[in-house]
């Protein structure tokens, strides 16, 4: 009798655990863990602190420019120092399409980005200032505002946020020319030949995450 009871209970546990496992697999995952494993992957772009990284990026763009000079590529351009909209306009010529700028208040924490349309950098900065002011005015009604937000509020009022990176799309040849500009630290392509092979082989969507290194070294 005891043995029958033992087998019965054990069987029930096994059935129950199997059902739970199936449920767990079918349950829509609230995070993108499964998605990352199966069909998409992330690549960090713009980290100039890695040893040999800038040389590797330059080498990659040189090879592509020699092979396919007129092919278009997306790339993150990281500057050596914080620069103004006018300086960006001088460095990046109009044949290259700028999509987004990265800005910061030099020597203070806080990173901002703003979408660029028709290579209008002033417009992009003004859009950020407007949205930042809207955020701050709403935020200040509530408690526990960070010190950094108050510091950056002043910087925005004084127009002290400066550009340190731009996401662009342009011909390989034009991007190669930029890569050797004295104001530019890296032209980091949204393209990796190893990944391209993987993409074809496993149908993996590669997601490029832009984290340009700030000129002041602040994280």
């Amino acid at each position: 009798m005891n043995r029958k009871l033992y087998i019965l209970i054990l069987s029930l546990i096994l059935i129950f655990s199997s059902v739970m496992q199936v449920m767990a697999q079918e349950q829509p995952s609230p995070s993108n863990i499964n998605e990352c494993i199966s069909n998409s992957s992330n690549i960090i772009i713009g980290d100039c602190t890695k040893e040999g990284y800038t040389e590797e990026a330059l080498n990659k763009i040189s090879i592509l420019a020699d092979k396919n000079p007129n092919d278009y590529y997306k790339a993150l351009i990281v500057f050596n120092e914080f620069i103004t909209t006018k300086e960006v306009e001088t460095i990046i010529n109009s044949s290259i399409n700028s999509e987004r700028i990265w800005l910061a208040n030099p020597n203070h924490i806080g990173v901002a980005t703003s979408a660029v349309r028709n290579n209008d950098f002033i417009g992009a900065v003004n859009t950020f200032y407007k949205s930042f002011n809207e955020y701050v005015s709403k935020r200040l009604v509530h408690d526990n505002v960070s010190e950094a937000l108050m510091t950056n509020k002043k910087a925005v009022e004084q127009g002290d946020f400066k550009i340190y990176a731009v996401l662009v799309e342009g011909k390989a040849n034009d991007l190669k020319s930029l890569a050797t500009h004295t104001s530019i630290r890296i032209v980091d392509l949204h393209s990796n030949q190893d990944c391209a092979v993987e993409e074809t082989k496993d149908n993996i969507a590669v997601n490029y995450i832009n984290i340009p290194t700030r000129p002041d070294g602040i994280k």
Binding site: I9, N32, E147, L149
Partner: protein, 186 residues
């Protein structure tokens, strides 16, 4: 003998739940229960012309115990996603984003097919009990439903510097049932 069998069954039951099926060890309740999640903070979503077009994080902070556990390989994401059954993130928000701001170390921004997130690539540079703020201006879908709820999650990932990183390790809900146009602290 009966007691031994019952004890064995109970042990097997717990083992099944926690070891064989680790997904059930994940935390489905609201709040900062796992070590990597921020102690406190507020998730807010802003509405313009009756459509959600902004997500905010207010006063997000971690304690010193959590920060001391982070190393150079870790990354975190504070994710906003749809919490209404049958409504996908893409039903609410289109691709891309306009302006963004974040005070998190190693800040990055994502608007994927199923969520938008504030990334923190260098959580080991967080300062204990310091408040961090951020926002993302998003493009609402013209067909965005008139009512829905959001989920805010914290995801912990590892970035070993290989091609396909950061790689998600664990996650938990910070907020569930966050109504359109509202904010709440966890």
């Amino acid at each position: 003998m009966k007691h031994n069998i019952l004890f064995l069954c109970f042990f097997l039951f717990v083992f099944t739940l926690c070891a064989i099926n680790p997904s059930y060890a994940a935390d489905y309740t609201e709040g900062d229960d796992l070590w990597f999640s921020p102690d406190s903070g507020c998730g807010y979503n802003g509405v313009n012309n009756n459509k959600m077009d902004r997500i905010d994080i207010w006063s997000v902070s971690w304690n010193s115990n959590a920060i001391s556990e982070f190393d150079g390989w870790d990354a975190l994401e504070l994710e906003f996603r749809s919490g209404t059954s049958g409504v996908q993130w893409r039903d609410l928000i289109d691709y891309g984003y306009e302006s963004t701001y974040s005070e998190l170390p190693g800040a990055y921004f994502e608007n994927d097919s199923d969520d938008a997130s504030f990334g923190c690539h260098d959580p080991h540079y967080l300062v204990a009990n310091q408040n961090y703020e951020g926002y993302m201006d998003l493009y609402p879908q013209s067909s965005q439903p008139s009512s829905f709820q959001l989920i805010v999650e914290c995801e912990w990932a590892k970035d070993y510097g290989y091609l396909y990183d950061p790689y998600p390790e664990d996650w938990e809900y910070l907020l569930i049932n966050l109504n359109k146009g509202s904010g709440r602290y966890w």
